[in-house]
């Protein structure tokens, strides 16, 4: 599979929030305004394109079956530790990103606000690492996959933020206001995104 196809597949065909239901909590909770949605989208792209290749290196070098062959332990399979390892890497890179931004780009840092620490428990980020292992991508592919999945998430969340901002002034039934309407909107967007399904042959 060439890299452009992989990017399109990760961003649109397998859109994280709308077709795979990943990262929905932040997707719904932080899409109230398009400004916060843009902040979240940029942060997701940054963290995902960094953590997926790092997790690939850690998995291949330390955890995959046969990784310890050079030490004379060819049968050691530490694959079951991947969950803890990946979570650790994600938490550490979020923390690192926070420190770097705070030191060198204070304006960007204050724009992100509370979103950065929240990304530690974002299931879409962990999922992109788990998919990378499941589908056996190589280093370049996993970087492209992480970037594509992040872009897809950002596109979806910015669109939802824009629509919700407009709906603030709509006269909705009171029970549907807020959460109920957001789910219905996400459903309609998901219908739209399912049209991308035929774009890339699996």
């Amino acid at each position: 599979m060439d890299l452009w196809t992989l990017f399109l597949r990760a961003a649109f065909v397998e859109n994280m929030p709308l077709t795979l239901f990943l990262g929905l909590c932040t997707f719904i909770a932080l899409s109230k305004r398009s400004s916060s949605a843009i902040g979240l989208g940029v942060a997701i792209i940054a963290v995902m394109s960094v953590t997926t290749p790092i997790n690939y290196l850690i998995y291949k070098a330390l955890l995959a079956p046969g990784a310890w062959e050079w030490l004379g332990m060819p049968d050691t399979d530490l694959g079951y530790l991947k969950l803890i390892a990946f979570i650790g890497v994600i938490a550490a890179s979020v923390q690192l990103l926070e420190i770097v931004l705070d030191r060198f780009f204070p304006a960007v840092y204050s724009a992100f606000g509370v979103f950065l620490p929240l990304l530690t428990v974002q299931c879409a980020i962990l999922a992109s690492s788990l998919f990378m292992v499941e589908r056996d991508y190589n280093l370049v592919e996993s970087a492209v996959f992480g970037f594509g999945a992040g872009t897809g998430f950002a596109v979806a969340v910015v669109m939802l933020g824009g629509i919700r901002g407009r709906l603030d002034y709509a006269d909705l039934p009171s029970g549907l206001r807020g959460l109920g309407m957001t789910f219905t909107l996400a459903g309609m967007m998901s219908l739209g995104f399912s049209a991308f399904g035929q774009m890339v042959a699996p």
Binding site: Y80, L126, F183, S194
Partner: protein, 220 residues
């Protein structure tokens, strides 16, 4: 908070403080694994187990966790529990664990688990934390079971694998609605469930962010 009885701690998360429809926690798995009732039941059981198992230890050591690294400590406890549950599922229920795919691992980052440990188990004695965790697990299971059975009945005419509505290709009258098994229907259904709950319990309705000029007409 202090005056709540154990019974209230247990029953409040069922509808009144439901984790999925009010607290916006644990949405990913609630939508993704509800295409059939059997999968929804497994996921509910696994999540309730992780929730209860991790609330206990976190509540026990709550006075010893430094504030700055509490997220990492909590996540590691949760992740260890998830690994145990995942290995049990793979050993004894291999086919179910295949159909749940990465979602069992994703219980780790399920905001419901971290949300309850962060919001409740961290400030309360162990027994109360266990009761709260169990109640939230039940509230989550309630929504999952409701959605799982509705989607399976209307999407395939089956319930737990048994044919309830005779489909057209078997000589019956029911045409399966394929949309019910796809992603959009899950969003619509959860939206409708939220709407239904809020029509019955109007105190859950979200306040308006902006008051329009003719606000009197809207607030009724």
């Amino acid at each position: 908070m202090a005056t709540r009885t154990y019974l209230q701690t247990l029953t409040d998360p069922l509808i009144r403080q439901n984790p999925v429809t009010l607290q916006i926690l644990g949405l990913c798995s609630a939508l993704a694994v509800t295409t059939s009732l059997a999968v929804a039941l497994t996921m509910s059981a696994a999540l309730t187990a992780v929730l209860v198992l991790s609330a206990g230890p976190i509540s026990l050591i709550r006075r010893h966790i430094p504030d700055s690294i509490r997220l990492i400590v909590q996540i590691i406890i949760v992740a260890s529990m998830v690994i145990v549950i995942d290995q049990i599922l793979q050993a004894y229920f291999f086919e179910l664990s295949q159909s749940l795919s990465v979602f069992v691992s994703l219980i780790t980052t399920n905001c419901l688990v971290l949300g309850r440990t962060e919001g409740f188990a961290r400030h309360n004695p162990p027994f109360r934390a266990l009761v709260d965790a169990f109640g939230n697990g039940l509230g989550y299971s309630l929504i999952l079971i409701l959605m799982g059975s509705l989607r399976e009945v209307f999407g395939a005419g089956k319930l737990l694998g048994f044919q309830v509505l005779p489909t057209v290709d078997q000589g019956g009258w029911f045409t399966p609605l394929n949309l019910m098994l796809l992603a959009p229907a899950a969003f619509f259904m959860l939206g409708l469930i939220v709407w239904a709950i809020r029509s019955i319990l109007p105190e859950q309705v979200e306040p308006l962010d902006h008051a329009p000029p003719n606000a009197e007409r809207l607030v009724d």
